[in-house]
Subunit: 328 residues, 2 copies
């Protein structure tokens, strides 16, 4: 029995964004390189690539953000909210980016947004997305896994409706954040930069293959679905943390954490253990930027997802309501 092939429109317009967090430097420098060299190179008739420096003010200051976290500003509510003289820069900027790359949820939006990030966690290369059934994103993920066999490549799924999805990648028809770590914020490590650069090249290669009509076979992939965040133990009065990630958990992202495994070590030396009932997979362990968000680590369930064979649709017409259909 032959496998059924699903058809999707071409991925014609791709945005590669960096500096959404101004101190995550791999994406900042990769986008700068693209801006210098990319215009002629990438617009080859198969795909149009737009390189975007998302938060130039934060980049200039080498800080995550200047007033509020840009990558929490892409909900429909914030994108369509009123602005005044006192609106934080990042909210203004999210609306500008929505005009440039979106509007989110409309047919005018770019086909794919790849938003480049770094983490201090030992996460290797991760795609983070809001869907576990976006076959374009999942096929790209599978392609990266095969092409970059020396690098751990994983897919994390945050189960939120598009309207509530808060990050820049949610503005595209398809999209994901690309996290590469570990790297301290404000630092460039050659190995992390090279990994990110390779990933972007492979993604664009995949898009060109897809837009050329290649068939991508169905497969089974592993997806990590976000379950919950866990905060540091804190002093009730000062809210200062009173423990750090336990040395046995530090850097063990995506290694199963079982009930009663060590989780934190207090500053006086005591071990605190994981109190959950279900073994889960930790990620974003000890991410620098999440201290202020009350997240010491996140926990995910690992699942197998069957992805269908896909191929580009041919003979597309854009209908009045913005949906697409095969014309013959």
């Amino acid at each position: 029995m032959e496998e059924e092939v699903m058809h999707f429109p071409a991925v014609s317009r791709v945005a590669v964004c960096g500096g959404t967090h101004g101190n995550e430097l791999s994406g900042v420098y990769l986008v700068r390189e693209c801006l210098k060299t990319a215009k002629k190179a990438e617009d080859d008739g198969l795909v149009s690539v737009l390189a975007v420096m998302s938060n130039p003010r934060a980049v200039q200051q080498c800080r995550r953000y200047t007033e509020t976290d840009l990558n929490r500003c892409f909900t429909q509510a914030t994108l369509n909210g009123p602005v005044s003289d006192r609106t934080p820069y990042e909210i203004i900027r999210s609306q500008e980016l929505n005009s440039l790359l979106g509007p989110k949820g409309t047919p005018r939006a770019v086909d794919l947004v790849c938003d480049l990030h770094n983490t201090t966690a030992n996460m290797g290369l991760c795609l983070i997305a809001y869907s576990d059934s976006d076959w374009i994103s999942l096929h790209i993920f599978r392609y990266l896994q095969r092409q970059m066999s020396d690098t751990p490549v994983r897919y994390i799924h945050f189960d939120l409706p598009s309207k509530e999805a808060f990050s820049l990648d949610s503005v595209g028809k398809h999209g994901f954040a690309i996290e590469v770590g570990p790297q301290p914020h404000g630092v460039m490590r050659s190995n992390i930069y090279t990994t990110m650069k390779l990933a972007v090249q492979h993604i664009l290669d995949w898009v060109r293959l897809f837009n050329s009509g290649a068939v991508f076979e169905g497969d089974l992939v592993e997806v990590y679905s976000m379950v919950k965040n866990i905060d540091y133990p804190r002093d009730c009065e000062t809210l200062n943390i009173t423990a750090a990630i336990h040395p046995k958990l530090q850097d063990q992202d995506f290694y199963l954490l079982s009930p009663s495994d060590p989780m934190f070590q207090t500053f006086s030396g005591e071990t605190l253990r994981y109190k959950g009932n279900e073994p889960l997979y930790p990620f974003f362990i000890n991410e620098c930027a999440y201290y202020e968000k009350g997240i010491a680590l996140s926990l995910a369930r690992r699942r197998c997802v069957k992805i269908p064979a896909i191929q580009m649709q041919t003979g597309i017409e854009l209908q009045d309501n913005g949906s697409t259909s095969v014309s013959e």
Copy 2:
């Protein structure tokens, strides 16, 4: 032939300072722990320990500094300079700390300042000081090496006269910065915290032994003497860096760098090599805070220093001119 023993006054008052850089968290949390528990514990008749949060405003914001780098403000010129309403907070604070722990260069200064720092460089545990003939500091260094045999412990010497010495530790009669890494700024890693905590405990143990009259035998120690800094390659117009530390040099602090060894990798993939004539020892390789200072790495010469046997002087009188002498 018996070794001659040199005698020095007791090390009665020790300052343990953290948060001189507000985002170097091991020292911040270690000082907080000391402030909670130390008063009774450490004042045992053998040594009086003062825990100091050096830059509370920067700590509160989890930034290196608020207006200017506090740890460049302890030259005699800055400590004795005029202040006005527009003087940066850190200059005001350096003068406050000089009143508390100094005045620098006077007999009223505390006997020993240990200033706690972290680095993103893979430097293990380093003492950094302005003298290669301060036998108290060098004996403490030797003691740490012996007590902490699992940790690489090194001594770095910046050859500057005390007047021009710019860091907080120069305010004490003896003093050094303690650098522990690698750790991203703004992050707490249990292993780095534990190393720093152990080091401070061993330093205070050494001081108690010394103040009890123990003789510390002479020895040979290795000292890294600062030779020069090397900046990143930069774009002439934007001053943005155009290369990162080469993957073969990254994390190789204190491994000999020879002429024509790889030093940088440009963002387009080219290798740039070390052009010096002399093999030297790199350190502070890819320290986050030094991008703005134009330092990609520092280079040192390694030397052997003979340290004499030492013992505490007994029967001390403080003379009018502030110098000390044995009374009988």
